[in-house]
Symmetry: C2
Subunit: 298 residues, 2 copies
């Protein structure tokens, strides 16, 4: 007998199989199973962000396990909350999938979402399951702030540029997978990133003037900060060098969800200084302009 599919168990069977494996937390005032969830955000502000992962675009089912896709989908959103200086508390998940999707795949996806969320103490509080031609996982993360949100627009001339987390590993790992290499730390980094979540709130407390997560590539994402803040960014190649990957991957590879921030004073643990904010515009590495970054629809 073949293993059960989404079609075999139906929408409600799929939801029941998944939600049975999900814990709740003190922040969850009402969890899955009703029209909507209710989550506590004690200071009256909720941080909210959405990312969508598509089979064949962001992951391949033959290269990544459902568990890894779940971790990656959660990580992309949890990192966005961290990049505001916040801490995520809840995820909502939309799963569009072919009717012949193995039930096991959906359950392992939920396990991955659950385990990545648990890294920051967040839980899955709701979702929706529908049929589609390819697997599409849309995740919304909700979170709380302690101080003001750290936007992209506050970088000041003279600030240091600091990075926390890996850069370029996901891009290098994808290339290895395309070449047939299926094992190793760099390949695993593509399958699921490990963002430095707690450094986000630590940077906010340390007075970060601007911050974002590196989802499009360091140069592209620092370009967003430079444009929004009306400043230029100078990076030092020597400070960015990583023996595991090329400098090009470090500068242009996305989806590692490292955090990059600007600040005046000392950086918190987990950060390294890689450059400084200068007058002008754009992003330079050792004085040279670098193009690049990942764009959809290109």
């Amino acid at each position: 007998m073949s293993e059960p599919t989404a079609r075999d168990v139906g929408e409600f069977g799929l939801i029941a199989a998944v939600t049975a494996r999900l814990p709740l937390s003190d922040a969850v005032l009402l969890g899955p199973g009703d029209d909507a969830a209710v989550i506590a955000v004690p200071d009256g502000r909720v941080v909210a962000t959405t990312d969508v992962l598509v089979e064949g675009v962001h992951f391949r089912r033959d290269w990544s396990s459902a568990y890894d896709v779940g971790r990656k989908a959660a990580a992309a959103n949890l990192a966005d909350v961290a990049a505001m200086g916040g801490t995520a508390t809840a995820l909502l998940v939309g799963l569009a999938s072919p009717p012949d999707l193995p039930l096991r795949w959906a359950v392992e996806l939920a396990d991955g979402l659950r385990d990545e969320a648990a890294v920051v103490g967040a839980v899955v509080v709701g979702g929706d399951t529908v049929t589609a031609d390819q697997v599409v996982v849309s995740v919304t993360a909700l979170g709380t702030l302690v101080g003001a949100p750290v936007t992209r627009s506050g970088a000041c001339v003279g600030d240091s540029v600091v990075v926390a987390g890996r850069l370029g590993w996901s891009a290098a790992g994808l290339r290895l997978l395309q070449q047939g290499v299926i094992d190793g730390d760099v390949v695993d980094a593509h399958r699921h990133p490990t963002p430095p979540y707690t450094v986000g709130p630590a940077l906010a407390r340390a007075g970060a003037t601007a911050m974002c997560d590196v989802s499009d590539g360091l140069v592209a994402d620092l370009g967003h900060i430079a444009r929004a803040s009306g400043v230029g960014i100078e990076l030092q190649a020597s400070a960015l060098a990583d023996p595991a990957v090329s400098l090009n991957d470090v500068l242009t590879g996305g989806e590692d969800h490292a955090l990059v921030a600007t600040l005046r004073g000392p950086a918190p643990d987990g950060c390294r200084v890689v450059g400084r904010v200068v007058e002008g515009s754009g992003v330079r590495v050792d004085g040279q302009v670098v193009a690049g970054g990942w764009e959809h629809f290109a």
Copy 2:
């Protein structure tokens, strides 16, 4: 020259074209353009729900305009917040689409989301755009509560069952479209539902013991309330009759996003009494068991 597509303008061009058309509100502490949005929820509780609409499953681009798809996607989520007794304040939108999607389609989708959200005073605060083989629109609604959330589990024997909004119109409209009828109120009801949003909080204030929106069909959704509350539901066919549609459509048609609730006292404006809560289990119409309701993967 053909009209521009998502590929022509790129991810950032698409986001810029859409966000330029979106208003903000007092509840939005930080809007689109950063890693995450920040929304005020003054009493420290946020209501959150997600629904996913898939081309070919929930809509067809030749039957519904992008504007109608936007209104429908927003309505499904706004109704879920209303069904908790809440009022939606913010939407986050994930749009997966083929690269050849006309830019105009995405812009009109955003206009529909914006205009439906405006019905309750909500605004679009963030989102994500990615490539996919078919159009998938995932919407998350966030909202606020005044009292306790109205769940599905509080119905008591002796309560009245009340309905606000249309039942069966969307299902009847879909059948007309399948038969080649493209005009008329019933067809338009399929293209975009008109949920009675403000009746949700009014029912909460009136002491509703259980409530949900009718997305799967009246009998199916009341079945959820009956199961969660450990009661039976008796409906009167005469109270449900609607000259525009068949009784079968009224009982089993989903996606109109009417509200159905149970309560002891007088019902607020906009509600009609259609039955009562009884001992036992299941849902009966004039004493007869009715099966039905829409299920994905079936």
